[in-house]
Symmetry: C2
Subunit: 319 residues, 2 copies
């Protein structure tokens, strides 16, 4: 069995979809906080486990019984903005959850391979000369979320070297695609532009945070294929960037959306949306993943943006 | 008010003693899990707060009311060995407790200076060429305890740079002295030797872990004066090693104790006491602390060892 945590989330649903469609003989397990009937109906083959991952005993029992071949650990409070507002809850729902998972594996299912899904936020502020970032670049997180993700990596190394666990570590850069919650930047932009368009407004007036930061975006479905390749062929103890290698300012992305929607744009900075500190630029090198696992991103940035605009125009979840 | 967390612990009691004796006009607050009447009688001037530091609401209330000038954060599950056996509890009682403390300060008493007491365990395995370790040396913890302490440092930087808190960070190397629990190495050796001596045994047969590791020991009372100097004059955001700059194998220390007690020694390795992985050598440079704050250790290693032997021979707590 491959067990997915955070299975009801954005990446979780895409992972279930990919596995259900492409790996018909695979036994799939899914941890969710509470079972959603719509989701259960969409994935009839999946075995569901209802669990709060902060409940160590309940998680132990699931791992003890399931004895999964591998776990793709997607459960996370993955918003950097949220972590600035609620650093305690963010840490609990990242690091403590991960620690519970490792403890469950260590004590009840030591053969299980764990995919520690992490984040490019661990790099922190980097010199422009270090771009694109290699996995060997020192990490120095600058947000509560980044600290939790960096701790997750260190903890992984201790469990590998000290307890003999089998863990592959990712630094996943920004990813996007249909089905992402509009608390995140790109769907939030798409939603606002689509709404303006629908109302027939001549100009979409949008309040934004710092849109001059540069990010590296990958389609979520390309990220999912990377996760499955890493489960199958990644090296334990190794860290892998998952990214496109291309940087874009958020401003460019908003402009692309407005152009596709054929609407004028007027941006104004809302100080509340500006974070205490943010990464000016983050672009990764995906050469390790490309060379070792023959992965490459297949879906173009423009194509995903079109899909996102279509989703928020029709208002249908299109995972 | 200077508020001490972990005030009933080994370093906590020494800190209360030092402050009570040397700083008569200072208002002292002490957080303890439960009030111990003997301790309360010994320090009549101290204001006591009974609190489980994992209880965020209770801690918030204390900080909101006390508005301390500074907090010396000593509360910690500080045993590396314990962290290997109970990584989850160790992490909760280090990182989560610290996060609760920072949140209490951020939300209720932003002017409070926090002394983030940390550990040399953050350095991990280091090349012999890097000895003595400077604060600028990269950190790479290899135990669950070390990971929690490294996360504490990263979190401190985020709270300084992102939220504007005033935090001074220590990397305290091994410290010892009267009153330390015999779960720790040196008091455990002293106790066994003293017991053998008392029973009139010709040879003290001792089961030990890896006693060839090299550590840097400072008397706890010298560590306490460093903490008070750092509260007064340390620079926010800076990291300070607290150490003697001298390395000794545990074997040397045991032999010194046996020599003082005039007893023969026979050591045998108990595999259960050997940790999954350990630091072969750790010696720090104290030049930053010495140069910036004119601190220096005053009590010789031999003198503290004598005191320890006397303590375990008489079986009286001599803090």
């Amino acid at each position: 069995m491959i067990l997915i945590t955070g299975a009801a989330g954005f990446v979780g649903q895409h992972t279930l979809k990919y596995m259900s469609e492409n790996l018909p003989n695979l036994e799939i397990g899914a941890c969710v906080r509470s079972k959603d009937q719509a989701l259960v109906s969409r994935f009839p083959k999946v075995q569901w486990f209802e669990v709060d991952l902060l409940n160590a005993n309940a998680l132990n029992e699931i791992i003890r019984q399931a004895q999964p071949t591998a776990i793709i650990h997607l459960a996370s409070a993955s918003s950097v903005g949220y972590s600035w507002l609620h650093p305690r809850e963010s840490t609990l729902n990242n690091l403590n959850v991960y620690l519970n998972l490792l403890e469950a594996v260590r004590t009840h299912s030591k053969h299980t391979r764990v995919l520690s899904v992490g984040s490019s936020e661990v790099y922190g502020k980097v010199d422009i000369k270090s771009i694109p970032l290699l996995e060997t670049h020192p990490i120095q997180p600058i947000s509560p979320y980044g600290v939790a993700r960096a701790s997750q990596e260190s903890l992984s190394q201790v469990y590998i070297d000290g307890y003999g666990l089998d863990i592959v570590i990712t630094r996943s850069f920004n990813h996007f695609g249909p089905g992402q919650d509009s608390r995140f930047a790109l769907p939030s932009f798409a939603k606002q532009i689509a709404q303006s368009k629908k109302k027939g407004e001549p100009v979409c007036r949008m309040k934004v945070g710092n849109v001059d930061v540069i990010r590296d975006f990958t389609d979520v479905r390309d990220v999912v294929t990377a996760y499955l390749k890493l489960i199958e062929k990644g090296n334990s103890g190794q860290v892998y960037n998952i990214c496109s290698g291309e940087g874009r300012t958020l401003r460019e992305v908003i402009e692309m959306m407005a152009l596709q929607a054929k609407i004028e744009l007027e941006l104004s900075i809302l100080p509340d949306l500006v974070r205490p500190q943010d990464l000016p630029i983050i672009i990764g090198s995906n050469q390790k993943l490309v060379n070792e696992l023959e992965w490459r991103p297949r879906i173009s940035f423009e194509a995903t943006v079109s899909e996102l605009m279509a989703e928020w125009t029709s208002h249908e979840n299109s995972i």
